[in-house]
């Protein structure tokens, strides 16, 4: 194990490139034998589907018509990217956060809850209850899973219908786990209102955020929880593995993959 948390501050890319980079991040974690992170964005608003969500559910959702769709290697519900902070973290299976799914999930989300508290936003890890919406809702931000990040509007006591502001999902490979996820900053105006979620703007409408405003203090908290120091990397993660990235991006961009179910 090393004493740093390598992080790549990547620019925007299309869906297949981002999914390929996330999958390759797992191999990087296994090679370095330590957690690694990338923060990234999207060249245009994009819908990412869970690994086994039926493609027909996406085509039936009129609110996202016309947007590019990419299928993730991970589980969970569909996410509309473009007004969010998107991240991927990969850890070796032998790492304390790599054993079961919940440790990595809770580790990243608890650090975000502490970060948001620093900005005056009360956020908490979700504990399942009978009031939860259906577990198979099409959109990630309409679902509730243990450890999802739920936020309350300023000055209000927590309520069952408080918005989910962050969700993540994992792909567990033989030697490493990659988890990617999304903190929704503002509603995405590219989609119909029935698919539009409020994100942080719903709980703190008076403030505007950039992904980096939150990502930097968040990753410092993640590094502190791992008892390592943050180590920003030169260049972008895709630049470290162009050939493998192109091959995998081709698979994630193919109809065979996107319409696999």
């Amino acid at each position: 194990m090393t004493s740093t948390l390598p992080v790549w501050w990547d620019g925007p890319a299309d869906g297949p490139t981002n999914m390929a980079a996330d999958e390759l991040l797992a191999a990087e974690a296994a090679r370095r034998e330590c957690p690694v992170v990338r923060i990234y964005s999207w060249t245009r608003p994009t819908v990412s589907l869970g690994a086994f969500q039926p493609f027909a559910e996406a085509t039936a959702c009129a609110a996202i018509a016309g947007l590019p769709i990419v299928r993730r290697p991970s589980g969970g519900g569909a996410i509309l990217h473009g007004t969010d902070l998107t991240y991927a973290v990969a850890v070796p299976r032998t790492h304390p956060w790599g054993g079961g799914p919940q440790a990595l999930y809770d580790g990243m989300h608890a650090a975000m809850a502490a970060t948001l508290a620093q900005f005056g936003i009360a956020a908490r890890l979700h504990v399942p209850s009978l009031a939860d919406p259906p577990a198979d809702a099409f959109l990630c931000f309409q679902r509730r899973s243990p450890g999802d990040l739920i936020a309350s509007p300023a000055g209000q006591a927590p309520r069952a219908d408080d918005p989910k502001v962050m969700g993540s999902a994992q792909r567990r490979l033989g030697t490493a786990v990659v988890q990617h996820g999304s903190l929704l900053l503002t509603p995405n105006r590219e989609v119909g209102p029935e698919a539009r979620q409020g994100g942080l703007a719903a709980v703190d409408p008076g403030r505007s955020w950039t992904p980096r405003d939150i990502a930097e203090p968040w990753l410092n908290r993640v590094a502190a929880a791992l008892v390592v120091s943050l180590a920003p990397q030169r260049g972008s993660f895709p630049e470290t593995c162009p050939e493998a990235l192109a091959e995998r991006a081709g698979r994630f961009g193919s109809d065979d993959w996107t319409r696999r179910r």
């Binding site: 086994f52 589980g75 969970g76 079961g100 243990p146 999902a169 994992q170 786990v177």
Partner: protein
């Protein structure tokens, strides 16, 4: 649990059967770690696989995990009912929750896997 059952580090178990076949599943530890299972994809019968190659995927509420072939060989049967009865994996992971039957290319390959006590040490470490 059969004494001749072996385990892969990726949490699959394999048990030799009559006729040169072997049954494969995933361990109770793995099922418990994944928690609520929602979907499973099995490989086609007749597929040739190498040890360590993905032979299927299983989705829990938030995670998708690959299932790996513990030995090289040919998939000769799959538990086709399992994807519709995923609770069986939690109830009986070493029996009714079997996943595939494989004809190993080299039965001696099984001996290179972990025995029960070695696997128990792995999951406790």
């Amino acid at each position: 649990m059969a004494a001749d059952m072996r385990f892969a580090k990726t949490h699959e178990w394999i048990r030799p059967e009559a006729g040169g076949l072997a049954t494969v599943g995933i361990s109770a530890y793995a099922v418990e770690a994944l928690t609520d299972l929602v979907f499973m994809q099995l490989p086609p019968v007749g597929r040739k696989v190498k040890a360590g190659e993905s032979i299927g995927e299983i989705e829990s509420v938030k995670a998708v995990s690959d299932l790996y072939a513990p030995v090289s060989g040919e998939i000769v049967e799959v538990n086709a009912a399992l994807p519709n009865e995923l609770e069986t994996l939690g109830r009986d992971p070493y029996g009714a929750g079997w996943i595939v039957r494989i004809r190993p290319d080299d039965p001696a390959e099984l001996a290179q896997l972990l025995d029960r006590s070695a696997y128990d040490m792995l999951v406790k470490s």
